[in-house]
């Protein structure tokens, strides 16, 4: 996939005002940056705007990138910041969200739910695509503050400290939300496999 130039070479050229090099960095990272923005804002138009603003901000602040930082991770963080700002400015009435699914226990605290086999032997071609849709739907259904944390930690691989810096929340709060979000996503995947059994 990589051409003769790796990211750090392109970055060096971009810092020397080589706009073609910056354009190449944009081409490399626009899909994942857009993907993050789309998941965070749940709007194509907002995601497109966040992507534009993120790359423009990256360009303007290119000289602030640390030498040990990867361009990709850096621009993702800028995009996450922009998406959160957009969400904060979105003055919509908070929609009523269903409570997050949690595992079911009996009165003695023992797990009672049926757990599906996630490695069905009769693998169908369409399975991946269908599972993808189920996961995407479940992620969109997560309450916002849970969705952000899940996306930033488990999809973007940011550290808790980086997420705290972006969201302004405490690390313990982020950890607790991450756990709830994972339980909900696990439940959605499990439901998908159970329904296919």
């Amino acid at each position: 996939m990589r051409t003769e130039n790796d990211d750090s070479q392109l970055l060096e050229k971009a810092l020397a005002k080589d706009n073609a090099a910056f354009a190449e960095l944009v081409r490399r990272y626009r899909d994942p940056v857009y993907g993050l923005a789309l998941r965070m804002t749940r709007s194509e138009a907002d995601a497109a705007e966040v992507t534009q603003d993120a790359f423009l901000a990256a360009y303007r602040h290119l000289s602030e990138i640390r030498t040990d930082q990867a361009f990709g991770a850096w621009v993702h963080r800028i995009a996450a910041n922009q998406a959160l700002m957009k969400l904060r400015h979105r003055k919509v009435v908070a929609n009523v969200e269903a409570p997050l699914p949690t595992p079911e226990f009996n009165e003695r605290g023992s797990l009672v739910e049926e757990v599906a086999d996630w490695n069905p032997t009769a693998l169908e071609q369409s399975l991946d695509a269908e599972l993808g849709k189920a996961i995407s739907h479940a992620a969109d259904e997560l309450p916002e503050e849970y969705r952000q944390v899940f996306l930033l930690k488990d999809v973007e691989d940011l550290t808790y400290e980086q997420i705290a810096e972006i969201t302004g929340d405490s690390v313990p709060a982020i950890k607790s939300r991450l756990h709830r979000a994972r339980l909900a996503m696990r439940a959605a995947i499990d439901r998908f496999y159970l329904e296919r059994e």
Partner: protein
């Protein structure tokens, strides 16, 4: 003895290495005796990678073109 409920509540901390030694011991003791919780833990561990794969998106062509045009215009003015 930890219940399943106590155990599942601590999974994130367990995987991140955040638990105190006695919490960890109690959790591992429960896992050693409870296969539903082991299955649950395995699913919990696999969830992020399955989601990562599923949530990758490609920017639609026309939006990518708009992005190109937008950046060309702004970069030329900087």
């Amino acid at each position: 003895m930890n219940t399943c409920k106590d155990t599942l509540e601590l999974l994130r901390g367990y995987l991140d290495g955040d638990l105190k030694p006695d919490e960890r011991t109690a959790l591992e003791k429960h896992l050693g005796a409870c296969s539903p919780c082991v299955d649950f833990l395995n699913q919990y561990k696999r969830t992020p990678s399955l989601c990562k794969k599923a949530l990758a998106a490609k920017m639609p062509r026309e939006l990518a073109d708009q992005l190109d045009a937008f950046l060309k215009k702004h970069l030329a003015n900087e």
